[in-house]
């Protein structure tokens, strides 16, 4: 992970970029998008399918025209610059390997284009290292892409991208066709390569684990709109809205319907009138007679069979107890609400056992029921 040095210069910048599709330009795929990447940063663009993340990457690559807005690489406006002039490395989900070239020829293609001689290529240390690290089977080097499995083709495409001496590397789901074990291994390998190469990477994925594992900063998009940009820990601990809060984290954040009553600014959980203890930041600042959504991460919910373990708690019933090896997971019912928490592996509970739940008041989030915006900063 690179230090996010505030002074390091901005490498890529998007200003109010818009993209429309459809004959009548009626599909607004990317809306007024603004974000930047600093030099040597690893940025992941994360979102569900159709959120505009791939369109964004294709616009950065120059493969897709932008309808309005500006893209800068450093100080240079590249909005109308063709892809070939942008000095970028590209790897896509669908490989785009040259079918008439062997695996090896595909990999060295970017070097050849830049005029490297056979001697240069032979002496290129990174080439051997990349082939080794990304586990390109040496016996397949002389075969043609059609003989490769989806996973092998994807790794070939990734190596072809990284062999280039580019300013910016743009990667779109480059590990999606690998089996689970290989995907995790290659994720680490990619992270190690980024640390070594010290270049700017922009990486598109729908997989929150991948984005978290790889990125210095994550850009979260939904319906073509940027939701939040921040470091993994910022996104995790300070989500700006319920979408971000629910999209990130496994097991996911717990959401409870809560309300305040007339002439009272304490919070109650719906359906059971469970009163919650609140941190000072919320106290006396909640509007009376108002509904909110309370969000709390599973690890911030504490459980005990002994009421005296907590200063304040509510009683719930165990619905499911799961032993997951390293950790145990508990699903509880509090009235109509379902609450999940993780507990130490040596602690066990039976189904239907009555337990006491304590919410860590410092780590509660409140969301507006209508806009779903996180209200934490307002308190």
């Amino acid at each position: 992970m690179q230090k996010t040095d505030k002074k390091s210069k901005i490498k890529v910048r998007l200003e109010n970029v818009n993209k429309y599709y459809g004959e009548k330009r009626d599909i607004h795929a990317v809306k007024d998008l603004c974000f930047h990447c600093r030099d040597k940063e690893f940025v992941a663009i994360l979102g569900p399918s159709g959120c505009g993340k791939s369109s964004t990457l294709r616009m950065l690559a120059g493969l897709e025209e932008i309808n309005s807005g500006t893209i800068y690489f450093g100080d240079k406006n590249v909005t109308n610059m063709p892809a070939s002039k942008r000095n970028i490395g590209l790897a896509f989900e669908n490989y785009a390997l040259y079918p008439h070239l062997s695996v090896y020829e595909n990999i060295i293609f970017p070097l050849k284009v830049k005029g490297a001689t056979d001697e240069d290529i032979k002496n290129n240390k990174r080439l051997d290292e990349l082939i080794e690290l990304f586990k390109i089977d040496k016996s397949t080097l002389n075969s043609y892409p059609k003989a490769l499995s989806g996973g092998q083709a994807q790794l070939t495409s990734l190596v072809r991208c990284l062999i280039r001496e580019a300013d910016v590397y743009l990667l779109d789901e480059p590990l999606s066709h690998l089996d689970e074990e290989m995907r995790v291994t290659m994720r680490t390998t990619l992270k190690i390569m980024h640390n070594k190469m010290k270049k700017t990477f922009i990486y598109v994925t729908h997989d929150q684990l991948e984005a978290f594992a790889l990125a210095d900063r994550i850009i979260i998009m939904n319906f073509g709109v940027l939701q939040q940009a921040g470091s993994p820990s910022e996104i995790y601990t300070k989500p700006v809205n319920k979408f971000v809060a629910s999209f990130i984290g496994e097991p996911p954040m717990n959401f409870l319907n809560v309300h305040t009553e007339k002439g009272d600014s304490n919070l109650f959980i719906h359906g059971g009138n469970y009163k919650l203890s609140l941190s000072d930041r919320f106290k006396n600042k909640l509007k009376p007679d108002t509904k909110y959504i309370l969000g709390i991460r599973p690890e911030r919910v504490h459980v005990s069979s002994n009421k005296n373990d907590f200063s304040e708690s509510v009683m719930a019933k165990v619905d499911v107890f799961e032993n997951l090896g390293e950790i145990n997971q508990l699903t509880m019912k509090l009235g109509e609400e379902i609450i999940i928490t993780e507990i130490e592996p040596n602690i066990k509970f039976n189904q239907d056992a009555e337990v006491y739940i304590h919410f860590d008041a410092n780590h509660m989030h409140l969301f507006d029921v209508n806009t779903l915006v996180c209200l934490d900063d307002k308190f």
């Binding site: 992970m1 230090k3 995790v184 994720r187 680490t188 992270k191 190690i192 640390n195 997989d207 929150q208 684990l209 978290f212 594992a213 790889l214 993994p232 820990s233 995790y236 629910s246 990130i248 984290g249 496994e250 097991p251 996911p252 991460r297 690890e299 619905d319 499911v320 799961e322 032993n323 997951l324 090896g325 390293e326 997971q329 699903t331 999940i340 592996p345 040596n346 189904q351």
Partner: protein
């Protein structure tokens, strides 16, 4: 008497043996998960139980009755496949009621009974409000529940489930895992459940049957699969990131045991009262240590290996750290601390020697487990 008794079953396809002399018993109300990598023989085992594959040899008993040669439709088992097929022209209610409308069940289930049963299962699966919808109007999870409901209405003696939630997205899979466990418990179902996902297997199974190349490797409760694994195979199968394994030589030293890791130029010292460990003295052993039982420091401590911190990957509330040690080997560490400032720098990884596992170097069978949990 067991609900299901599987005795020495073997299934050959031509010259390949998919299931080899497999035996296990399942109590009434028990859930057994079959865990193994792709091609281990999990699905074939399930298909043998269902009667969809003829046994090459062996016997299967249901409540003491030999069902080995009984056709699938008379076995009183219900099978649920991963690729659920709902009838698109039928509503959720009709889809769920379908298995009860078979001519053979006409005596047992009249219209009233069918309605009642569908309603009961729908409530349990939380799809009561969807009963009049068609499959096209359902989300992925709702379709999955409907398909599960169609299996559950039948009240068979044993449910056979093959990767029922594998192709759902992460969030939904997570939720369904807990829900299924809860439903099985509430209905008191006897279940054989196939999965390749160790978390699912540990969570759902009262016992977990680990299978490799058609053979039983271990049949145990989750705690034992995690902490008292039979061999390296089981150790590697459960855990993400997987357990770290090193080769070393076991010595005794002043009443303690010591594993000399030659390649890492380190000794790992630990105490044990287990006498039978002495017979492995001066022999090659494999040391296993889980990523969450390793810490990182900048100074040398006892039981540590030096390396370079080469990658930090953030997880939800922890970090997965990769440390490169000698000869291109990597160690995985799980930590609550980021260690961002130590990236690409030399560091020490400290092994909690109380929590190591030792395996025989030849057959990789377990010889020692450190402190449990």
């Amino acid at each position: 008497m067991y609900r299901l008794e599987v005795k020495n079953i073997t299934k050959n396809f031509g010259k390949t043996t998919a299931v080899k002399n497999l035996s296990f018993n399942c109590e009434e109300g028990e859930t057994i998960t079959l865990l193994g990598p792709t091609g281990a023989g999990k699905t074939t085992t399930l298909r043998c139980l269902a009667g969809l594959e003829e046994l090459t040899s062996g016997k299967i008993y249901l409540d003491g009755k030999d069902i080995s040669n009984i056709p699938p439709n008379h076995r009183e088992l219900a099978m649920f496949f991963e690729n659920y097929a709902l009838y698109p022209h039928m509503t959720v209610r009709e889809n769920m009621a379908y298995p009860l409308k078979a001519p053979s069940r006409r005596k047992e289930f009249n219209k009233e009974k069918i309605d009642k049963r569908v309603q009961e299962i729908a409530e349990l699966l939380q799809i009561s409000e969807l009963l009049d919808r068609k499959p096209t109007e359902l989300s992925g999870g709702q379709k999955q529940r409907t398909a599960l409901g169609r299996t559950l209405v039948r009240k068979p003696k044993v449910f056979l489930l093959d990767e029922p939630i594998a192709h759902l997205d992460a969030v939904l899979r997570h939720r369904m895992r807990g829900e299924m466990k809860s439903i099985f418990q509430k209905l008191g179902c006897t279940v054989i459940y196939v999965t390749h996902d160790y978390r699912e297997a540990l969570s759902i199974g009262d016992r977990i049957l680990v299978i490799r190349k058609g053979e039983l490797v271990q049949l145990a409760i989750a705690e034992d699969i995690w902490s008292r694994m039979n061999n390296v195979f089981v150790a590697k199968l459960a855990g993400d990131p997987p357990i770290n394994i090193f080769k070393g030589i076991l010595h005794t030293e002043e009443g303690n045991f010591k594993i000399e890791l030659k390649k890492q130029k380190t000794d790992i010292v630990f105490e044990s009262k287990k006498e039978n460990l002495k017979k492995w003295e001066e022999k090659e052993v494999l040391l296993g240590i889980r990523p969450n039982n390793i810490t990182i420091s900048t100074i040398k401590k006892p039981n540590s290996i030096n390396g370079t911190l080469s990658a930090i990957e953030a997880m939800s509330s922890s970090y997965e750290i990769t440390v490169s040690i000698s000869e291109g080997k990597m160690i995985k560490v799980k930590s609550k601390i980021n260690f961002k400032d130590l990236l690409n720098k030399p560091i020490w990884v400290n092994i909690d020697s109380e929590r190591i596992h030792l395996f025989n170097c030849q057959d990789e069978e377990s010889i020692y487990h450190g402190r449990i949990l």
